[in-house]
């Protein structure tokens, strides 16, 4: 089957010639009309629409947005905060960047609708420090919106007030973790909090009930407020509704960002048709489907089992190319949809070295708070680095996996899984390469691109 066409809702105006990121252009294209309609509705109704829509978070966890909102403690008497996670640091992910740089008002409208729906009077956009222009663009856009009463003490003359401030990060991946982000916003070292008891919905920013949502997720909220939850749920596939932006990078002809209905495109269609297939003379070897934290898929492996389609259990027998790009399918075959960052590696890549690159990333980014991740991530990096630059032993692959097994599930936050899954999956699926790495080096195989 040929690949479906893109369905650009969130990215409708990205790279559009003549589309600028100022308020006038946005309003000209119908901007803030959805917000006006939303503000005429009871806030609880808007929460309901989001629940009905089945929208799942687009930051990486895929947690249902409506459920997240409904967990908010609305009775504590404390102010409720919205924190926009614009930290976009998951390797392989590059989508929120374009929303914020080219279409910031779409985000602001999504924010203001979300705030209204959840009685939020103060929102912060936590934007990664490496987007300095993005921060300035957002601040300018907020100022424009404030001048037009789309943000501020008296939004749309309704008497409801909500302010947005931009807060810049400074180069830490762990600030993408929701409680790490909250600690960073509070001006401390971004050490994620233990849950229980510090669930953001109850004890979040300044120990007040807080929602943390990804940039893309909030843009989908705006769209849901526009067309309704039911209509949104008809897009995509059951339980994996709406569209999502897939970011493809690495060894394909046409890397880039593409917005598709969730689950309506397969890996093979995405990589071969949309992205033009492998580079000349090369074949696909491996692909990470959801950001570097996701477990890797090896071209050639097959996935068999039964899955629910509608009301029935149906057999599936998939090659990597056949896997639909949705949260549930990817979860079912042992990886995840994550942030939508698809990284492709071809047959020129040595998996030991690719893993060494990834392990160096996680060792660098570990905040250091809890023992398994702090010590384990650095140990895995040291093993990988020694394999590549020093003496590799045949048992090092198993040692790596054994270290990773001691991290996942034992840490304060999901960074433990994030740094363990790559090692576990690379060694599991490419174990022979790890075993034979020392020999291969001795045999003086031609130097591939340096990865670490």
């Amino acid at each position: 089957m040929p690949a479906p066409a893109q369905h650009r809702i969130i990215f409708q105006h990205i790279d559009e010639p003549g589309y600028t990121n100022d308020l006038a252009c946005y309003v000209q294209h119908g901007g803030y009309e959805v917000m006006k309609r939303a503000y005429a509705r009871p806030p609880a109704e808007l929460v309901d629409e989001v629940k009905k829509s089945g929208l799942r978070g687009r930051g990486g966890a895929g947690f249902p947005c409506g459920v997240k909102w409904s967990l908010l403690d609305r009775k504590s008497g404390k102010p409720i905060y919205l924190v926009v996670n614009a930290d976009e640091s998951e390797p392989g992910t590059f989508k929120d960047r374009y929303i914020m740089h080219q279409d910031p008002h779409q985000l602001i409208e999504g924010i203001m609708i979300t705030c209204f729906a959840n009685s939020v009077k103060q929102a912060y956009i936590y934007i990664r420090g490496e987007f300095p222009h993005g921060a300035r663009i957002l601040e300018k856009a907020i100022a424009e919106a404030r001048a037009a009463n789309f943000v501020g003490p008296n939004v749309l003359g309704s008497g409801y007030g909500c302010e947005i401030y931009v807060h810049r990060g400074a180069g830490a991946y762990i600030c993408g973790e929701e409680t790490g982000l909250i600690e960073s916003l509070e001006g401390k070292r971004p050490y994620p909090r233990i849950k229980p008891p510090y669930f953001p919905a109850v004890l979040g920013l300044y120990q007040c009930p807080t929602i943390v949502n990804n940039v893309e997720t909030l843009c989908h909220v705006k769209y849901i407020a526009d067309v309704g939850g039911e209509a949104f749920a008809k897009i995509g596939t059951p339980n994996n509704t709406g569209t999502r932006i897939l970011c493809v990078s690495g060894h394909v002809q046409k890397p880039g960002y593409y917005e598709f209905e969730v689950g309506k495109i397969t890996m093979g269609q995405l990589l071969n048709e949309v992205c033009g297939g492998p580079l000349p003379g090369r074949t696909f070897k491996a692909v990470i489907p959801g950001g570097s934290s996701a477990k890797i898929l090896k071209f050639g492996e097959r996935f068999k089992g039964k899955r629910k389609v509608g009301a029935e259990m149906v057999d599936y027998d998939w090659a990597v190319e056949d896997v639909p790009m949705d949260f549930d399918s990817l979860g079912m075959i042992g990886t995840m949809g994550g942030s939508g960052g698809v990284i492709v590696m071809d047959d020129t890549v040595n998996m030991v070295e690719a893993l060494a690159n990834i392990n160096a990333f996680y060792a660098h980014e570990s905040c250091g708070q809890c023992t398994p991740c702090r010590e384990g991530s650095l140990w895995m990096k040291k093993i990988s680095a020694r394999m590549v630059h020093g003496d590799a032993r045949p048992e090092d692959g198993q040692l790596l996996k054994s270290v990773a097994d001691q991290i996942a599930g034992r840490t304060i936050c999901a960074f433990g899984e994030a740094c363990a899954w790559p090692t576990q999956s690379y060694v599991a699926k490419f174990g022979d390469e790890f075993k034979g790495y020392a020999e291969a080096k001795k045999a003086g195989k031609p130097a591939a691109t340096t990865l670490v």
Binding site: P197, Q207, G368, S377, L378, I383
Partner: protein, 568 residues
């Protein structure tokens, strides 16, 4: 956030054993009550919970209930309520006991968690045991023996961090040994109220430090050494002096102030090497002030009295006692006694006996300083209340002995017995001292002991046993740690001999003495020295409730009314 325990009891199941604990009890404490050890590093009962060491990971389960009806779901296999075991291990320190909570600590998964955490803690840990003061009381040693895998798989280069840096005058820091549990940081901020410690850099390179130029020098800095589970923070005073497994532990009380912090004195072969706090949740939790820890040095201070003297010449104890007796007889009716707020209850009782026998007026000298609101109170005498309870005094002492001075000027007092007090410092002048004869008992020399007619060297608090009554009116006992220095005699022996010298008789041994004490002092009716609990006994302080005590608020103590103005 992690709420304190409430008195309502709930039943929890730990490794198959049911036990009732107060609702909200921390799971690590609940396990302790059930006799199960849950190893941990970062958890401390008196600090906030951070859950970062991950050593206390255990399996937890909660009783299954139907989400709609809340009715219990039964397990057909066991006939009991089904337990939903959480697949992911949970940290015990962040969980409070609730009804039906089930814990498993002996499963393969828990064993693997512990071995994993131990392995991780050791891979960057330096091989310092042979030169590390913590050896023998090191949690890393204990838990790697108890729960570790026993061998290392790490062949990479270990991280290098600053070693043996002086974090403050009393604390040495070795960053390589640090396991980043953050107990010290939390202590400095939450208890000592001196937010001076922090972690810099990131990941496994994180390092404990002060801001350059600042020091960990508050008066509670040594508590960080106590709570550091490893040898990262060590005491500069104790550094390299002794291996802890050679030391004997004896319970004592900090005599620095009326807080009466409970302590442990560590000694070997008659020498004390260090003092550490002893846990008492009613008095000092697990803390004590740094200034209290150096008091053991008074045993070997240069000004220690070691020779009995009569008229300035060396003498023997009984000869000196006779000389004192003669003085008493010759100045019958004109003797005054300056007792001490640093004497034990027993000594104050005997002092009172002596005073009664001599019809002598009794005085006490006050010692007042600024209270730090933590564990040093404004009253720097540890036992003024003991003097009240035994009847030695009936009003609070003043800093100056004005009444005594007036009596001396008027010729009404010819002999003064001073129990460890320097009368010059207490306001008497040389003229007055010239008019009287002084019988001096005490451990340390001073201007008064220099000119005393009879000098009877006695013991420091570490060389004798006794009790103090602290600011809470809590009776607490301290035990003899080391033998008295040669030449000094137990205060109780000296006092009872003085009483005997004028025809009276009181026991000097603690147990028989307490029988007399209990009979004569109503507040102490049922107490014996032997049965006094380790955590002390609260006495009824209402007879003295109206007195203007100087103490302000400290840990576990709130004054009844406004504290008196501090008199110099």
């Amino acid at each position: 956030m992690i709420a304190p325990a409430q008195p309502e009891l709930v039943t929890v199941n730990i490794d198959g054993k049911e036990i009732a604990v107060p609702k909200g009890t921390n799971v690590i404490e609940a396990a302790r009550l059930a006799g199960v050890d849950v190893p941990h590093y970062c958890y401390h009962p008196k600090l906030t919970i951070v859950g970062n060491c991950r050593m206390c990971l255990i399996e937890m389960g909660l009783p299954a209930v139907d989400p709609a009806t809340k009715a219990p779901v039964m397990d057909p296999a066991t006939g009991k309520q089904k337990i939903n075991w959480i697949p992911r291990p949970q940290i015990g320190c962040a969980t409070n006991a609730s009804a039906g909570l089930h814990i498993r600590t002996q499963t393969p998964q828990v064993k693997d968690c512990r071995e994993g955490v131990m392995e991780f803690l050791l891979i960057n840990h330096p091989l310092d045991c042979p030169i590390c003061d913590q050896a023998g009381e090191c949690k890393l040693q204990e838990q790697s023996t108890g729960y570790g895998r026993g061998y290392s798989r790490f062949i990479e280069q270990k991280n290098v961090k600053p070693k043996r840096t002086l974090l403050g005058p009393r604390v040495m820091l070795d960053d390589e040994r640090c396991i980043l549990c953050s107990r010290c940081i939390r202590f400095a901020k939450e208890i000592a109220k001196d937010d001076v410690l922090g972690f810099i850099d990131r990941g496994s390179y994180s390092t404990l430090t002060c801001y350059p130029g600042k020091k960990l020098e508050n008066n509670y800095s040594l508590n960080t050494v106590d709570i550091c589970p490893v040898g990262a923070l060590t005491s500069t005073d104790f550094r390299f002096k002794m291996r802890v497994w050679f030391l004997k532990q004896t319970n004592s009380i900090d005599s620095e102030s009326s807080v009466g912090a409970n302590t442990v004195a560590w000694s070997r072969e008659g020498v004390i090497y260090r003092l550490t706090p002893r846990r008492n949740d009613e008095v000092n939790d697990t803390w004590m002030a740094d200034t209290g820890r150096v008091l053991y040095k008074s045993i070997t201070a240069a000004d220690r009295l070691t020779a009995v003297k009569v008229n300035g010449a060396d003498s023997a104890l009984d000869l000196a006692i006779n000389a004192a007796g003669e003085l008493f007889k010759s100045s019958a009716g004109a003797v005054a006694i300056v007792g001490s707020g640093r004497s034990s209850v027993e000594e104050q009782f005997l002092t009172k006996q002596l005073a009664t026998a001599l019809s002598a007026a009794t005085h006490l000298v006050s010692r007042v300083g600024p209270g730090d609101k933590i564990l040093v109170s404004a009253d720097r005498n540890p036992n003024v209340r003991g003097a009240l309870v035994t009847g030695l005094i009936s009003a609070l002492p003043a800093a100056q002995l004005n009444a005594l001075g007036a009596a001396i000027d008027a010729g009404k007092v010819k002999t003064v017995v001073s129990v460890g007090e320097d009368l010059f410092a207490a306001g008497l002048n040389a003229t007055q001292l010239a008019k009287i004869a002084v019988v001096y008992l005490g451990p340390q020399a001073n201007a008064t002991s220099e000119g005393a007619k009879v000098v009877l060297p006695t013991l420091t608090v570490f060389e004798k046993s006794g009790t103090f009554v602290n600011q809470q009116f809590r009776l607490q006992k301290f035990l003899k740690v080391v033998p008295g220095v040669s030449g000094a005699t137990d205060d109780l022996v000296v006092l009872s001999k003085l009483v005997a010298a004028i025809g009276g008789a009181v026991p000097s041994d603690l147990n028989p003495l307490w029988k007399v004490l209990a009979a004569e002092v109503p507040a102490l009716g049922t107490v014996t020295f032997a049965n006094l609990p380790e955590t002390g006994l609260l006495l009824d302080g209402t007879p003295w409730a109206a007195l203007p005590f100087v103490e302000g608020e400290t840990l576990h103590f709130k004054p009844a009314a406004q504290p008196a103005a501090v008199t110099a």
